[in-house]
């Protein structure tokens, strides 16, 4: 049985507010708060699944039915994404327990909690301005977390991120303004209904502005200049969270826009093309990177390119594949980042060439990295295989053979750079100065969870697919969503 889903947002905020006093009592206690709260979110999302799959769960806030008040619309899509976010958030929170020793670490946990809450809010809310507010919560906490280590590079990355992120919010706000001015409402379902009567010249401008804005969060090329820097310079768990949480929320918003709110067909082609360009440029850049985490960042961008391709196909199966890819990426990329975090920590350097021989010094850690690399390359029986397979299958089915070929080319590049790193981990002799310290149990638990999910999903993809099908249906057939929201108001 689930509690009121609004708690999934209210509780983290509450906890975040309470952390400073708690920190005065006991600093050690603070780091368990995110685990607890996000664990609760996880529980909620899982418990909600059977309900939302049948019919979107509408949560009314402040007693005002939509469109008057803000509401949470927990459809299959929102629920699945919230699940992904909570899952990644939970794992990263577990990992955080021992990873962050940087002061003031209670602030770190607070920021992280809010990051997760913001992303959860983004995927659950049914109001476009509320979406923007949660986006801001997510991004502002991301900016702060990027620079959290207060080092030279972190600050630089954060500034770039902030610069681009602010532009994103500008454009989103402009888009919302246009929408409100023409439809007189902010509820997404109602907007979707009313936009039909709106001058398409205005509507398309609104869509462009919103896409540019959310495209920045979704790492669409060329809007993703911030991503490699932020991913690589933020504390490692945050890099993982970017890949598993922030981007997912951004892509969700994008999908919601192009599928539910607007009904322009041409935009799908744009998304498709943007996807393939994103993928190619990212993979090409990734292969030339010298820093491990930066390489992972580019790889993450590339994966999102694949998701965009899937979304651009605008077919049920394509969207299913895209969602599956998002799920897998959300499991695998954090796994890679988390293991990379300790690899970087132990080798004492961010550079790939200093990772030599870590496979000997840190076998388990390297195993997780290699496991993640294999999974992300789409090697069966790990989960990455299925999502890639479905997406490519759908791409080819719709005649975009060139796109599929290019995507496969990207995959080959990906294989090269991942295996180069794995090669270094296992084949090169370790450096003399390699510190030998134990990897904390919490980190291992976190990574094991992700690896296990990857394996299980790979062996039995229907486990996840069962829930992704309604989610995809929700996107393709927007009337499900609209009807559910608007009927709640009556």
């Amino acid at each position: 049985m689930y509690l009121d889903p609004v708690l999934m947002i209210a509780l983290p905020l509450f906890a975040a507010f309470l952390i400073p006093p708690l920190a005065r009592i006991s600093k050690g206690l603070v780091k368990y708060v995110p685990v607890l709260i996000i664990g609760f979110n996880l529980y909620e999302t899982v418990m909600l699944l059977p309900h939302s799959m049948v019919k979107p769960v509408i949560v009314i806030i402040a007693a005002w039915a939509p469109p008057l008040g803000i509401n949470l619309t927990i459809g299959p899509l929102g629920n699945v994404l919230a699940l992904i976010i909570s899952l990644v958030g939970f794992v990263v929170a577990v990992y955080n327990i021992r990873f962050v020793e940087e002061e003031p670490n209670e602030k770190y946990h607070m920021l992280f909690l809010l990051l997760t809450a913001g992303a959860t809010g983004m995927v659950l809310t049914g109001d476009i301005f509320n979406l923007f507010v949660f986006l801001e919560i997510t991004s502002i906490s991301s900016y702060a977390l990027t620079a959290f280590l207060r080092d030279r590079d972190g600050a630089e990355a954060a500034f770039k991120y902030l610069l681009i992120g602010s532009m994103a919010s500008t454009f989103i706000l402009l888009g919302i303004a246009l929408i409100y001015a023409t439809t007189g409402t902010l509820n997404m379902a109602q907007i979707a209904v009313r936009l039909k009567d709106v001058d398409p010249r205005i509507a398309i401008m609104a869509l462009i502005l919103l896409i540019t804005g959310f495209g920045i969060e979704a790492e669409m090329f060329p809007l993703n200049g911030w991503a490699p820097d932020a991913y690589s310079q933020a504390p490692t768990p945050i890099g993982a969270a970017f890949g598993g949480i922030v981007v997912k929320a951004g892509v969700y918003a994008l999908a919601r826009l192009i599928y539910t709110i607007f009904s322009f067909q041409g935009i799908f082609h744009f998304i498709l093309i943007a996807g393939i360009i994103t993928l190619l440029i990212a993979e090409m850049s990734a292969i030339r990177q010298k820093q491990l985490k930066r390489m992972l960042a580019f790889s993450s961008i590339g994966q999102m390119g694949l998701v965009l391709i899937a979304l651009g196909l605008a077919t049920t199966r394509g969207v299913e594949g895209g969602l599956f890819q998002m799920f897998n990426h959300a499991m695998i990329k954090p796994l890679l980042f988390l293991s990379a975090g300790y690899l970087v920590f132990y080798s004492g350097s961010k550079n790939i060439e200093d990772m030599d021989g870590m496979g000997r010094v840190k076998p388990l850690l390297s195993f997780f990295f290699a496991f993640g690399a294999f999974a992300i390359l789409g090697l069966p029986p790990l989960s990455g295989f299925w999502s890639k397979f479905i997406i490519l299958s759908e791409t080819i089915s719709h005649g975009f053979i060139a796109v599929a070929t290019l995507a496969l080319f990207g995959s080959i590049i990906e294989a090269v750079y991942y295996l180069r790193v794995v090669g270094r981990l296992y084949f090169k002799a370790p450096h003399d100065g390699a510190k030998v310290q134990y990897v904390p149990k919490s980190a291992l638990v976190a990574m094991s969870i992700l690896a296990l999910i990857t394996l299980v999903t790979g062996l039995y993809p229907d486990l996840v697919m069962t829930y992704l099908k309604p989610a995809a249906a929700e996107l393709i057939d927007k009337s499900i969503y609209i009807k559910a929201v608007l009927s709640a108001g009556l």
């Binding site: 630089e156 532009m167 462009i208 540019t212 200049g225 911030w226 294999f374 599929a404 270094r424 002799a429």
Partner: protein
């Protein structure tokens, strides 16, 4: 319990279990994998002739796993070789590090190969194909320090092949809405000619990479050389056969063979088949040239393996009854002899620690069993009667001559002749000639390693004497593939062009040999055994420091003669291609200038661009 999933779970289970218990006890982990393989193999053996199948749905795709005579044939190759190599490695890997990892990857590889042959649909075929790729990749990189480049090359080439195949099978799915072989074979003829050719090319690329067909072979020499010896046997013997199996599927199950009727034929061979046959033949010839000039025993065998696979491809692409029989027979046979040769070289490496031909010599007295195995092996490879290799050679030449493919026949003959060169080299430089002092104390390998090699060796003798049982199995597969079976009614190798009775040949050789042997050894008293230094040197007494072993640059004149072929190398072309691509990537990378303002400018440009094209987005 359904047998096929059960076998698969045994194999995967054995892999995981071997890895888990591997932390504790050596015998346990090796034992687990051997027992798992034997159990699975035993169950599989019982599937002969049955049409067991297992269907289920995954992600909405129909999946079918089934057994048919063709897959049973290839399955037996896999299990036979896998069990023997596993036993071999039980001794070979002793004392090596990360044996648990080795057993794990070995079992996974076998499981995936088994999965490939039982797959009745393209999806699970590809699924297992990819598993096979990575698990064998793990084996290639088993030796950490030497293996990186080779492993990477192997993996990338495999990926290219796999993705070509993936594209093809997804196109098929897009056309037919199903991955099932049956649907494909029914639907193939409905495709347009262009599509048929595209699919054909893509599938061939996919399979040819694994079968190491030139020019997609560049991964093979290094990967074979680097991987642990027992696995190399499996690699060359069974894993590369998966490419062949794929070609067999492509031609006769998917229905690419039907392509023949719709396009130009050359002497009764469809144009695609004819082109492929040339690829096979040239592979056979050039790989043999390459093999001759190698100094690394495994590399030599690797090139030899590439060459032999070229023969098999040649046979298949003829699509005639004879050609396919030749291809299938050679596939089985190649598994046997390449398996034993790789194992033998591995055994030598196990004892001497080197694979350099020029460093060894005179081991015959120290490792007689291994020598015997290699001797039988090279006779088989050379295709000399009375051992099993001859049948394969005979079938292939008959197939070629029957189709009047003169040029192909000459190239094939040439390659076969050239093979004598490297075969002699490998046996001479390792086992004959002068023995370096440091190998004086070398011992024969333990029985656990000897036995698998000897079993394989005896198999070649048996097949040389009586190949008809195997040919009968091949006939069953051929009937399944819709090809006229090979005429076995005469109890000899027989077709309208000629005939050979292997039994007679074996009998003559045996009888003559023993008569001469008995006469020779009874009429004369025992010869006096003298040392290897006691040779004709024009009266000089050779000292220790004088090199009496002619092994370095053994075929230098040959290399000079064929330098024109050896000079150019596909791998160099690939390497320069890769370099250029990386250069391109480096340029692309500069999109990310590191300047935040530039990124902001990108955003603005993107927005402006979108505004510009907004009418297209509606």
């Amino acid at each position: 319990m359904e047998t096929i999933p059960f076998i698969l779970s045994i194999l995967f289970g054995a892999a995981v279990l071997a890895y888990l218990v591997g932390k504790f006890n050596y015998i346990l982990k090796v034992g687990v994998s051997i027992v798992g393989l034997i159990w699975a193999g035993w169950l599989f053996l019982g599937l002969q002739g049955t049409l067991s199948s297992f269907t289920f749905k995954m992600l909405g795709f129909d999946i079918i796993w089934r057994i048919n005579p063709l897959s049973w044939l290839f399955g037996m190759i896999i299990f036979g070789l896998a069990i023997l190599t596993a036993i071999f490695s039980g001794s070979y890997m002793k004392g090596k590090e990360r044996v648990d990892f080795y057993c794990f990857a070995m079992c996974i590889t076998v499981a995936s190969m088994f999965g490939i042959v039982v797959s009745g649909d393209l999806l699970s075929f590809f699924f297992f194909w990819e598993i096979m790729t990575w698990s064998s990749f793990l084996m290639v990189i088993y030796y950490r320090y030497e293996a990186q480049a080779a492993g990477l090359r192997y993996f990338v080439m495999s990926m290219i092949g796999a993705y070509a195949m993936l594209t093809a099978l997804l196109i098929v799915y897009a056309q037919l809405g199903s991955f099932l072989f049956d649907v494909l074979s029914a639907g193939w003829s409905g495709f347009s000619l262009t599509l048929q050719i595209w699919l054909f090319v893509l599938f061939v690329i996919g399979f040819a990479v694994k079968a190491a067909m030139m020019p997609l072979h560049t991964w093979a020499p290094d990967a074979y050389t680097i991987s642990p010896a027992p696995f190399t046997a499996l690699f060359s013997g069974a894993l590369s056969k998966m490419g062949i199996y794929g070609l067999a599927l492509l031609f006769f199950v998917f229905g690419a063979g039907k392509l023949a009727s719709s396009v130009i034929t050359i002497q009764g061979v469809s144009l695609p088949g004819y082109i492929l046959a040339w690829f096979g033949a040239i592979t056979a010839l050039l790989a043999t040239f390459k093999a001759i000039v190698q100094d690394d025993a495994k590399k030599l065998l690797a090139y030899s393996s590439i060459g032999q696979l070229g023969y098999i491809i040649l046979g298949f692409s003829l699509s005639s009854s004879m050609g396919v029989t030749a291809g299938l027979y050679q596939a089985v046979n190649h598994s046997i002899f390449k398996g034993m040769l790789f194992l033998a070289v591995g055994a030598v490496f196990y004892r001497t620690g080197t694979r350099k031909l020029s460093e060894m010599g005179g081991l015959i007295t120290r490792m007689p069993y291994t020598f015997f195995v290699v001797l039988l092996g090279i006779i088989t490879v050379a295709g000399m009667p009375p051992l099993s290799g001859f049948t394969g050679k005979w079938l292939i030449y008959e197939a070629l001559i029957e189709k009047h493919l003169i040029f192909l026949a000459v190239v094939a003959f040439g390659a076969s002749t050239a093979a004598f060169l490297y075969l002699y080299r490998i046996i001479f430089t390792i086992f004959l000639g002068q023995r370096p002092k440091r190998f004086d104390e070398v011992k024969e390998v333990p029985w656990m390693m000897r036995a698998p090699m000897l079993i394989l060796a005896l198999l070649t003798v048996y097949l040389g004497f009586y190949p008809y049982q195997l040919l009968d199995l091949i006939n069953q597969a051929q009937v399944y593939m819709g090809i006229a079976p090979f005429d076995l009614s005469h109890s000899m190798l027989f077709n309208s062009y000629g005939n050979v009775s292997t039994i007679t040949v074996m009998n003559i050789v045996a009888v003559v040999f023993f008569i001469v042997f008995i006469l020779f050894n009874t009429l004369y008293k025992r010869s006096r055994k003298v040392g290897l230094k006691d040779i004709h040197t024009s009266g000089e007494v050779p000292g220790e420091e004088i090199n009496l072993h002619y092994a370095v640059d053994f075929y230098q004149p040959f290399a000079r003669g064929v330098s024109i072929f050896l000079k150019r190398s596909v791998s160099k072309i690939y390497a320069s291609l890769a370099d250029n691509l990386e250069g391109l990537f480096d340029v692309m990378r500069y999109v990310y200038t590191g300047n935040g303002q530039t990124y902001a400018l990108f955003v603005v440009i993107a927005l402006a661009f979108l505004f510009l094209v907004k009418d297209f987005l509606v």
